[in-house]
């Protein structure tokens, strides 16, 4: 009888151990999920895939098609004239476009949830008037969403074959350009 009790006690111990292990595993899974969740979000699903369609009326009233830039390395920038970081970023984008134009770089933009007048004034002010003909109007923000943008500014680097190669959340920096854009222009 005593041995029987001991055996039963052991079984209960095993069962308790098993349940504890299960709870531990669940807790570990939860912890892992909490730890890895936000970093996964930072990466774009588009990198390595064909660039989404970008065709529409531009700030100068013409029609722009991103497809027409196939064969060029292209920066696609999501911006708005009301967005302060975009204001500080635009001069660098304009300068980069000028510097690397001969190397094959083109810049297209998505002017999201913005007024046409304000946007054109802003481009003129920062010396980026040229962008008006490649800035697609996005009054309801649908284009920015089609590119997977989570805010403005955001910039996507599209290679000559039309595949998205990198994404920058926030203001583009000379370092980011040196790390991603410049090597791509050199290897063309």
């Amino acid at each position: 009888m005593r041995l029987g009790r001991i055996e039963l006690g052991r079984r209960r111990l095993w069962a308790a151990g098993a349940v504890l292990a299960a709870v531990g595993v669940l807790a570990a899974l939860l912890g892992y999920g909490l730890h890895t969740g936000p970093t996964q979000r930072a990466e774009s699903m588009l990198v390595g895939r064909a660039a989404p369609r970008l065709t529409g009326r531009t700030l100068d009233g013409s029609t722009f098609r991103l497809d027409s830039l196939r064969g060029h390395v292209t920066l696609v920038n999501v911006w708005a004239s009301w967005c302060a970081p975009c204001q500080s970023e635009m001069p660098l984008l304009a300068k980069t476009a000028r510097t690397y134009r001969s190397a094959g770089l083109r810049v297209a933009t998505i002017d999201t949830r913005d007024g046409v007048g304000q946007a054109r004034d802003f481009l003129r002010k920062v010396g980026a008037e040229r962008f008006a003909s490649t800035s697609v109007r996005d009054p309801d923000g649908a284009f920015a969403v089609a590119w997977g943008a989570t805010g403005a500014p955001e910039t996507y680097l599209v290679d000559a074959q039309g595949v998205v190669r990198a994404r920058r959340i926030g203001v583009v920096t000379p370092r980011w350009l040196a790390a991603h854009l410049v090597p791509m222009l050199e290897t063309r």
């Binding site: 039963l8 069962a15 299960a22 699903m45 923000g141 920015a144 969403v145 403005a152 595949v163 790390a179």
Partner: protein, 340 residues
């Protein structure tokens, strides 16, 4: 006592059924919902990517407004809510879905509660059976003291009653423990398999199965890591500022494709940023060999400078001559000015 418990349980079940019925009745389609209602329904199932725990239907952020505009335009063009959800998952990842997707690691969220619920039900059923049987058995062996709990064959010789009774009791005790153990083992096995599941739920290949419109898969999308995939991983890590991890990824890439000057350059840069100038210098030299590009010269110059080599200034001046408009040029000029 037991009757009262049964009555309470029955009442609880009845109450849940009534609530479920009311909820279903409220959702029953009287007339087709308006476009606004359909937009709100789809938006309520999507998580606003720039908010904390808010759905696209609730959020007033610019992104959520853009997402609602997309939903409206896609519903107008005749796409189904499921197609729209897949489309958003292809842009923002599965994390944009309020409801777990049902493949990869998310499948656990569907399977586990149902499995645990069934295991619990089975456990309760077995416990009830076990309690009833000994109660019935206790009546039969006359004179046997009630306090004698669970006699075991090895320890106590018993009459015929005991012999028939004991194996039945043992069968009744074991399954409860067995179910708990099996559940635990299943959980542990799932946990071991999880890293694979997790990877598959995040890759473009697996989300292609959800029916979202997809572009051609690229080398980085293949499951086995080739040199290109390691390079891509390194770039992502570098962009996040994890230079140690990035340099490891670049090294892996170089092991598979040792001659890639591009990766050598990236590795040298990552090593410099990770504060390993000694390791960076030979890599930068290899990258600059037969590769007289501004970037290669720049990284070599920076590596030389970090190692205190006298040739650094000359190399950096060479870089400025080659690419005076390079985005890094102003910083290099400042460096040279400072070291004078």
């Amino acid at each position: 006592m037991r009757r009262r418990g049964t009555a309470v349980a029955a009442l609880l079940i009845l109450a849940s059924l009534v609530f479920a019925g009311v909820a279903l009745a409220q959702r029953a389609p009287g007339r087709p919902p308006s476009l606004d209602q359909r937009v709100t329904d789809v938006a309520a199932g999507l998580r606003c990517p720039s908010c904390q725990g808010e759905s696209v239907a609730d959020s007033q952020s610019e992104v959520a407004k853009g997402m609602r505009a997309q939903i409206r335009s896609q519903l107008r063009s005749g796409r189904s809510p499921d197609q729209i959800r897949s489309w958003f998952a292809s842009r923002y990842g599965d994390s944009v879905l309020m409801t777990p997707s049902g493949h990869g690691i998310d499948a656990l969220l569907w399977v586990l509660p149902a499995g645990l619920f069934l295991a619990g039900l089975a456990g309760i059923a077995l416990m009830v059976r076990r309690r009833r049987r000994p109660a019935a058995a206790r009546v039969e062996p006359a004179g046997e003291p009630e306090s004698q709990p669970e006699p075991e064959p090895e320890t106590e010789p018993a009459g015929d009653h005991g012999k028939h009774d004991r194996p039945a009791r043992r069968r009744d005790t074991d399954p409860v423990i067995r179910i708990a153990t099996v559940t635990a083992v299943v959980l542990v096995v799932l946990a071991v398999a999880v890293p694979g599941l997790w990877r598959s739920s995040g890759t473009p290949a697996s989300s292609a199965a959800s029916g979202a419109p997809r572009a051609e898969p690229t080398p980085a999308a293949s499951t086995s890591m080739n040199a290109q995939s390691w390079l891509q991983l390194g770039l992502v890590l570098e962009n996040k500022g994890s230079y140690e991890d990035a340099s490891r990824a670049y090294r892996n890439s170089l092991q598979l494709d040792p001659g890639d000057k591009q990766v050598q350059l990236r590795l040298a840069f990552a090593l410099l940023r990770a504060d390993h100038p000694k390791q960076a210098l030979p890599v930068a030299r290899a990258a600059a060999e037969h590769n007289h590009t501004p970037n290669a010269v720049l990284i070599l110059g920076l590596a030389q400078r970090a190692n205190g080599q006298p040739g650094a200034t000359r190399t950096l001046r060479e870089f400025l001559r080659m690419a005076p408009d390079h985005p890094a040029a102003p910083q290099v000029r400042r460096l040279l000015k400072g070291s004078r």
